[in-house]
């Protein structure tokens, strides 16, 4: 089995695990972590497949995409953490209630 293929499947596994975590867990920190796991999975796929099947030097475009995605993910995570803190401060809960419509 090709190594970049293996890595990309690991990335896919991470993506799916993250997705599961995001849906299944209520705690906001866990949800934020889950999103990050998903993101890591996606970036791993980008970087792994950039190497191609047997190319000597990788394709730089997916690398750049991964880097850009990474920075976006950092920004979003920072905002999410700030929001989560604020949610805990104002509602006293680390989870989102089912009915947020109030």
């Amino acid at each position: 089995m090709n190594i970049s293929l293996l890595y990309s499947l690991v990335g896919l596994a991470l993506f799916s695990l993250g997705l599961y975590g995001l849906i299944a867990y209520g705690h906001l920190l866990r949800k934020i972590l889950a999103v990050n796991v998903m993101g890591s999975g996606a970036f791993l796929i980008l970087v792994a497949l950039a190497r191609g099947w047997r190319q000597t030097s990788p394709d730089p475009v997916p690398h750049a995409m991964g880097l850009t995605g990474l920075v976006v993910a950092v920004s979003a995570t920072a905002l999410a953490l700030a929001l989560a803190c604020r949610v805990q401060e104002t509602t006293g809960s680390t989870q989102l209630t089912e009915d947020g419509s109030d």
Binding site: L5, L9, A24, D59, V61, H63, A64, V71, R86
Partner: protein
């Protein structure tokens, strides 16, 4: 019991989705089409020799410009949650910590500078450098409250937006000079990229530091926290 079955459905759906994607990945063409050749063919005109940097700051520089805006937005988002008090140091900096800081901080700044410069031809660049600077900033925040409170006003806002502003300025400037948006004049490309990256490094460092605070530093706190330097404000 009900929860269990709900989870089961989720898992089944996820497995199906993962299977679909896995199938897609496995069926991707062997040595499929890519832009690799094009990147290497044009790298000579990009002003840098590291292909990833060339893509990030020249070929797809517009993405990177927007991405710095996104980073900047994270600060605005955190600030829109209202004021927070600057975190004070948990206890006065001791002798050892002060000495360590004196060595560590310059080293970090130096590392950041190196990463920035190296980006032109090797892995590195503004984000890596900015991240190191951000680390330095957080270290400062945790130890030296005077520094933190001193920057809370227009200097801070200028630093935060410098990266976007310089990048935009260069982008539009090259358009005014007769090219297209972000079409650097050929011989200036290397220098302009360095200018952009320097500004971006600074901004990224400051942005990451500010994001660590998790809200808008309250300006009213300034005098208070300067007076109470070294004492923890219980919250």
């Amino acid at each position: 019991m009900r929860l269990f079955s709900a989870k089961l459905i989720i898992i089944v759906l996820l497995v199906a989705l993962a299977g679909l994607i896995a199938w897609a990945i496995l069926s991707l063409p062997f040595n499929g089409p890519s832009l690799r050749a094009q990147v290497f063919a044009n790298i000579g005109h990009s002003g840098v020799s590291n292909p990833v940097t060339a893509v990030l700051l020249n070929f797809r520089g517009y993405d990177t410009l927007l991405e710095i805006v996104v980073l900047f937005l994270a600060v605005l988002g955190a600030w829109s949650l209202g004021m927070v008090q600057l975190p004070g140091p948990p206890y006065p900096a001791g002798l050892f910590l002060s000495a360590l800081l004196r060595i560590l901080l310059p080293a970090m700044v130096l590392t950041a500078g190196y990463l920035l410069w190296a980006g032109a031809h090797a892995p590195g660049g503004a984000f890596q450098a900015g991240a190191v600077l951000g680390g330095a900033g957080i270290l400062l925040l945790l130890t030296e409250v005077r520094f933190a409170s001193a920057i809370v006003s227009w200097p801070l806002r200028t630093l935060l937006s410098a990266g976007v502003l310089v990048f935009t300025g260069v982008a539009l400037g090259s358009m005014f000079l007769g090219g297209r948006l972000l079409e650097y004049p050929r011989h200036w490309a290397g220098i302009l990229i360095l200018v952009i990256e320097t500004a971006a490094t600074l901004s990224i460092g400051v942005i990451l530091t500010v994001l660590f605070i998790g809200g808008r530093p309250s300006e009213a706190d300034r005098t208070l926290s300067v007076k109470s330097t070294g004492k923890r404000k219980d919250k």
